[in-house]
């Protein structure tokens, strides 16, 4: 119970802490509750106003000075004459250059003021700015902070069931997050070390508490991971201290350059003309792309697992036998090449650094993750030999001079000969054809249905007539005879019957 209120207090604090402009960043009381960005905007607006006032004043002074200058040509007593001494012939240029200088002056002054404002240490301030600049957009980070609250709530709810150890876990996790926030300057490997040490430490303690029931420990550790990593995500995902971003871009570029690689070259056993297979391929691509949107390492892993499962079903449908690794890895490479997942290297590094190690090393998720790592490593090192191409061919494809799919006019004859028809290479067209076939089938079915309905209608109209006719025929065949009717008393037949008891007579009993 005490935890509950404690947490609620934090929650209120947090929304109070946010920037008053609602941009999703944290505000700071010294900046009137605004975040550094909004504060700077606000500040700049005020300054701009002042600059304009100053400029008006300067212009006025300038005019006075010009008048003075015109009267005494020799006197060069302008305060800011060092840059471009105004030429007597171009008097009109005078105020303009003046204004430029004024503006640069103003700018430098402003910068120093801002710097002063960010004191005590301008270094940390600039770092902060850089970090804020990195977050994709205010709306996204705002969304993220709501997520964070939800996760915290879930975490507390989960720990409530554990009672005393739950409180302990919560305390430790929060303390850990606080310590981590002071270690932002550390390298990625050190950050990973800290988190892994924390996992290890906690897991050991939990192991003692649950008396070796590894299932319960795992359950708790999953929740802890979710809570901690949702909080730390922003500061430890693709940190500035690592090369992750550079690698991301390199991989992305590499995959783009390899757009021409076909499933035949990779020997992937997909038959994309089967609609279920192409559906699975599309789903696999969606899942691997979705990985980037998750914050918790385990959620990212489950995206990979889902992607892998779709690949397996695609192989299973095509080959009609369980997929082995020989089939799976080329297929995964194909999917990665097609999807070009955003920030792939960062995501892999993030999972490697911050996922619970037991999951990565032995579980099913770990296997698929390992395969993804292999796929990426293969793509990075891919050369002519690994696609069974000659080095010249590989070079031509890489440089874009030729394409294996559509042979160019200057491409060689071998290519032109072996170029498969468009339907075979383009799964979308195959799908389209399939759908068209389905539609025409449907319309013919509908036509026959209409015909049947019309004949039914005709039958229905004809039916009363036939009935009428039949009835008439029967009436003619058996004309209605009206027999004379003898009316008799109901009990006439019983008149002679003496066996009947005498009718009951009412009797009166005295008394």
């Amino acid at each position: 119970m005490s935890q509950r209120t404690e947490r609620r207090g934090i929650h209120v604090d947090q929304s109070d802490l946010l920037c008053k402009k609602g941009c999703g960043f944290y505000g700071y009381t010294a900046w009137q509750g605004l975040c550094s960005k909004c504060w700077r905007e606000e500040y700049q607006r005020v300054r701009q106003q002042q600059i304009q006032d100053d400029w008006a004043l300067a212009a006025k002074l300038q005019r006075e000075e010009e008048a003075a200058y015109a009267s005494s040509q020799g006197a060069q007593s302008q305060p800011q004459a060092q840059s471009t001494p105004p030429h007597p012939g171009h008097v009109s240029l005078g105020p303009f250059s003046k204004f430029e200088e004024k503006k640069t002056n103003e700018k430098t002054r402003k910068v120093t003021t801002v710097k002063k404002f960010f004191s005590p240490s301008s270094r940390t301030a600039s770092k902060k700015e850089a970090q804020e600049g990195k977050s994709p957009s205010p709306s996204i980070s705002r969304q993220a902070s709501f997520d964070t609250d939800q996760v915290s709530k879930d975490f507390v709810d989960f720990l409530k069931n554990l009672q005393k150890p739950g409180r302990e876990i919560h305390k430790q996790s929060r303390a850990f997050i606080v310590t981590m926030s002071s270690k932002k300057d550390l390298g990625a490997d050190e950050l990973s070390e800290c988190v892994q040490d924390f996992y290890q430490h906690l897991a050991d303690r939990l192991m003692g508490h649950f008396k070796g029931s590894s299932d319960s420990v795992e359950q708790v550790m999953d929740q802890v991971e979710k809570y901690i990593m949702t909080r730390l995500y922003k500061s430890v995902f693709c940190p500035e201290t690592s090369d992750d971003e550079k690698n991301d871009l390199a991989t992305q570029k590499r995959i783009r350059a390899l757009h021409w690689v076909t499933i035949e070259m990779l020997c992937v056993s997909f038959d994309e003309e089967i609609p279920e297979v192409s559906d699975n391929v599309v789903n696999a691509i969606t899942d691997i792309i979705e990985m980037d949107s998750k914050r918790v390492p385990r959620d990212k892993l489950s995206c990979i697992t889902r992607c892998s499962k779709h690949i397996f079903s695609a192989i299973r449908i095509t080959k009609n036998e369980p997929a082995s690794a020989d089939d799976f890895l080329p297929a995964l490479i194909h999917i990665v090449l097609k999807a070009n997942p955003p920030r792939l290297q960062s995501n892999i590094q993030y999972i490697t650094r911050f996922c619970n190690p037991s999951r990565l090393m032995s579980g099913e998720d770990g296997y698929y993750f390992t395969n993804l790592c292999c796929a990426v490593a293969f793509i990075e090192k891919l050369d002519a030999q690994s696609l069974n191409l000659s080095p010249e061919e590989f070079e031509r494809y890489m440089s874009g001079q030729a394409s294996p799919r559509f042979s160019t006019s200057d491409g060689d004859l071998r290519q032109a000969g072996s170029s498969p028809d468009v339907t075979a290479t383009n799964p979308a067209l195959a799908q389209l054809n399939h759908n068209l076939k389905l539609l025409s089938g449907l319309s013919s079915k509908q036509e026959s249905l209409m015909e049947a309905a019309q004949s039914l209608q005709a039958d229905l109209i004809a039916w009363p007539e036939t009935v009428q006719r039949e009835v008439n025929g029967i009436v003619e065949k058996y004309p209605l005879e009206i027999l004379s009717r003898t009316v008799s008393a109901i009990d006439a037949n019983n008149m002679e019957n003496d066996n009947l008891p005498p009718p009951l007579t009412p009797q009166v009993f005295a008394g």
Binding site: Q172, A175, F176, V178, T179, E190, S192, E193, C194, Q196, D197, F198, Q200, H201, L202, D204, M207, G212, S214, C267, K309, F312, S313, I315, R316, N320, E321, P322, A323, S324, A325, D326, F328, L329, P330, T352, R353, P357, S358, L360, M361, S362, G363, E364, Y367, Y368, T370, C373, C374, A377, F378, K381, Q385, S386
Partner: protein, 220 residues
């Protein structure tokens, strides 16, 4: 080794990771499907995939969770091997007794595994397809003497006839348990435990972990 050690010191459950290495058509998949599902080339195989399979065993009262990792055997993926067999407790190297090349491939794997993982890993060299003995191209003597020379055990199996597979996995599990127990005894004190069981997480694991556990988190 880490996974086995971590599971082992808590009580009775061991979890082992076993990689399956071998060239394309030597029957790795059939072997593992025969072991886990007891089916061969069956249209009724329920599993979607045969590349990651698990099996629960009970050996002399100890529970063992076996995770079998299949690897892509094509030559072009050879360089990716180390990513697969990192942290594995055992390796099953499969060759086809009718295919001399596949045996050569096994020799390459052994060399690589010993270089990367040392003697921590239990190796099994498996000659598959003994039902095709009349087409044998790898002699029994050569295979067995080679296996002995590299400290591996040699088995003959047939996934088709379900021969020798049960024994292969059971034997391997027993050996891995022995290795894990020996390591536990060696460790003795828990100080180095956390460090070593973390080793698998790093991609580059050549640097020894000097920092004691909990050194940099406040909770200590």
């Amino acid at each position: 080794m880490a996974a086995g050690g971590a599971g082992g010191n808590s009580g009775k459950t061991y979890s082992f990771k076993v990689v399956l290495l071998g060239e394309g058509c030597v029957g790795k998949t059939s072997l593992v499907l025969r072991y886990c599902e007891n089916k061969f080339n069956d249209k009724h195989i329920t599993t979607l995939q045969a590349s990651f399979l698990t099996k629960k065993l009970n050996i002399t009262g100890k529970r063992v969770n076996l995770a079998i990792w299949d690897t892509a055997g094509q030559e072009r993926f050879h360089a990716l091997g180390p990513i697969y067999y990192r942290d594995s407790n055992g390796a099953i190297l499969v060759y086809d007794i009718t295919d001399e090349d596949s045996f050569q491939k096994v020799k390459n794997w052994v060399k690589e595994l010993r270089k990367m993982l040392g003697n921590e890993i239990c190796l099994c060299i498996v000659g598959n397809k003994v039902d095709l003995d009349k087409d044998r191209h790898v002699s029994v003597e050569e295979a067995e003497s080679y296996s002995e020379s590299v400290g591996a055990k040699h088995y003959h199996t047939s996934a088709k006839l379900n021969k020798g597979i049960e024994e292969l996995f059971l034997d391997l599990c027993k050996r891995m348990m022995e290795t894990a127990q020996a390591e536990e005894r060696l460790k003795g004190n828990g100080a180095s435990q956390s460090a070593s069981s973390r080793r698998g997480v790093q991609i580059v694991d050549d640097e020894p972990q000097a920092t004691p556990a909990g050194g940099c988190c406040s909770s200590g």
